[in-house]
């Protein structure tokens, strides 16, 4: 199955619904659309934050995300996948990233979206700086997130059964 894939890294906000509609428009084989939108929260572990700043390596970041999108398209029967990740300064309440997966069946759409989110939240090619009242700090990689992403390495149980 050939999958429509689309990866963008941009400073501007995005429109999740428009991205989903762009995949499904005019076709009647899509049965399930899953969207995930990650939003900047106003706190980190209970400590208020003023902003997030995301830095990336242009060219390398797109290629890394595209490789994971291609892996998702190999593992699940997907009609389309779009991933958009923002960079730059992001305020609480603003969108950070989105994943849209479209498939004939819901299990494939759900599992592919879950797989891509795990990757994006833990190993996406970004460096994150958090601005708190006492200054800006660079966020370090989290062990718990790595464990969540590790789920996908070995298990067959997340494969679509349909």
């Amino acid at each position: 199955m050939s999958t429509i894939t689309n990866v963008r890294i941009q400073n501007e906000p995005f429109d999740t619904a428009a991205e989903a509609a762009a995949i499904t428009r005019g076709r009647t084989d899509a049965g399930a659309v899953v969207t995930f939108t990650g939003i900047c929260r106003g706190d980190e572990n209970g400590v208020p934050i003023a902003s997030l700043t995301l830095e990336h390596y242009p060219g390398m970041a797109e290629a890394e995300i595209e490789r994971h999108v291609a892996e998702a398209a190999e593992r699940w029967p997907l009609i389309g996948v779009t991933v958009i990740h923002r960079f730059g300064r992001i305020l609480p309440g603003d969108d950070i990233m989105m994943v849209v997966t479209v498939s004939s069946h819901r299990a494939a759409a759900f599992e592919a979206a879950d797989f891509l989110m795990d990757y994006l939240k833990t190993r996406a090619p970004f460096w994150k700086q958090v601005e708190k009242t006492d200054g800006k700090i660079w966020v370090e990689a989290k062990a718990t997130d790595d464990q969540a992403a590790g789920r996908w390495a070995t298990s067959g149980k997340h494969q679509a059964a349909e």
């Binding site: 994006l120 190993r123 970004f126 660079w138 370090e140 990689a141």
Partner: protein, 87 residues
Amino acid sequence: MSQHIKLRYFAWVRERIGKPDEDVEVPADVTTVGELMTWLASRGEEYAHAFENPKVIRAAIDRTHVKPQTTIAGAGEIAFFPPMTGG
């Protein structure tokens, strides 16, 4: 014979060194990514600070992740940065 390489720095590596990129002439006896970090660390206080703990620094040659023992021969662009943290 020295090698001309473009270097790029990200996140706190960039902040410590004080610039996002630069072009350098690397001496012929610097042959691996790890040796390049050691050589860079010797170029001044800001570099020494950035590379004070090389184990936490990641590197990419021409936008592909590499290890400290990877050779730098033929590299066009080498980047140094902390582990990526996700978005």
